[in-house]
């Protein structure tokens, strides 16, 4: 158990060290790359994918950021090529709005059903459980 704790501590320290050494460009690259979907994987960002295409896409992200393009411009480049699909978080416009609104409606509907049920159970004359 002590060994496991020691290993976890070393791992955490190494991670902190790596994070501290990361250049601002690399941090921005990681940030943008984690928002872009890998085209040859299943729901994985190009940051997390080991595929060669994803690695090269990440290089493109790095190069464009280094050339002075903003993260939005870099994401725009990939959207131009792959469409909104390439964004792991699709923009909340058009048909995509359903993705964001349906869960809200589902929760509201659920709350309404619970409220109606409770009201019915607690109404005068309702059978005691």
């Amino acid at each position: 158990m002590t060994l496991v704790r020691g290993f976890a501590l070393v791992l955490a320290l190494v991670s902190l060290q790596v994070a501290a050494q990361e250049s601002p460009l690399e941090r921005r690259t990681r940030d943008v790359a984690s928002q872009l979907r890998c085209p040859v994987c299943q729901g994985v960002s190009i940051q997390d994918s080991p595929s060669e295409l994803a690695v090269e896409m990440k290089n493109v992200v790095r190069e464009q950021l280094a050339a002075g393009r903003t993260p939005e411009e870099v994401k725009g480049y990939f959207v131009e090529k792959y469409g909104d699909w390439v964004l792991l978080e699709p923009p909340a416009t058009g048909f995509n709005l359903l993705v964001y609104l349906l869960p809200v409606f589902a929760v509201l509907g659920g709350l309404l059903i619970v409220w109606l049920a409770v009201k019915r159970w607690t109404a005068p004359g309702a059978d005691a459980i």
Binding site: P39, E52, L53, E56, K81, Y82, G83, L98
Partner: protein
């Protein structure tokens, strides 16, 4: 009361059925490309397979896509590890030969593969009528929003991507797309 319940249930169920019904009309494997209608991204890549007959080039040559302007260009991304590429290969080579002497150029782009394996594959397949270039950094693949291989792009004489075909392409599709683009006079 029953009528009210039925109305409430319908109000919930009908939109869900409508959404699911709409989903059934769509191919879940199809991801629409934003590229058709836009200028074909230019690239300059080294030739590794020279092709045959009048379309043959030298192995030291590079091809810049924009230099093919004025021709309908059939751009086929392929790889030796790609099974579907094996099945479409004869169609591409046959149609390329059929359109020789007309304003049509076929070009293969090797995707995520090595030229050695690509060359061996072409030899095993009995040759390739048109040249192929190597895309070692996958920049052309990224510029063309590639999801995998094979994918075929049909570029108009003006350099605009007219169609994108995902998966195995047939002789029928090739002829139909090429003829429709040849019928259009550049402005």
């Amino acid at each position: 009361m029953n009528l009210r319940r039925a109305a409430a249930a319908s109000a919930i169920a009908l939109p869900i059925i409508a959404i699911l019904g709409f989903g059934l009309t769509r191919d879940p494997g199809e991801i629409r490309s934003p590229l058709p209608g836009r200028m074909a991204p230019d690239f300059e890549l080294p030739v590794f397979a020279i092709g045959e007959g009048p379309l043959a080039l030298g192995t030291q040559d590079t091809i810049r896509l924009s230099e093919l302007r004025g021709n309908v260009v059939v751009l086929n991304f392929w790889a030796s590890w790609c099974l579907e590429c094996r099945f479409e290969h004869a169609a591409l080579s046959n149609v390329a030969e059929e359109y020789e002497g007309r304003d049509v150029r076929f070009l293969g782009v090797l995707y995520n593969d090595s030229p050695d394996l690509g060359t061996r594959w072409i030899r095993d397949m009995g040759g390739q009528r048109y040249p192929s270039v190597n895309d070692p950094r996958k920049r052309a693949a990224i510029d063309y929003g590639l999801y995998g291989a094979p994918e075929t792009f049909f570029v108009s004489k003006e350099g605009i991507i007219a169609y994108k075909h995902v998966g195995r392409v047939t002789e029928g599709v090739l002829r139909q797309k090429i003829d429709s683009l040849l019928a259009v006079t550049p402005q």
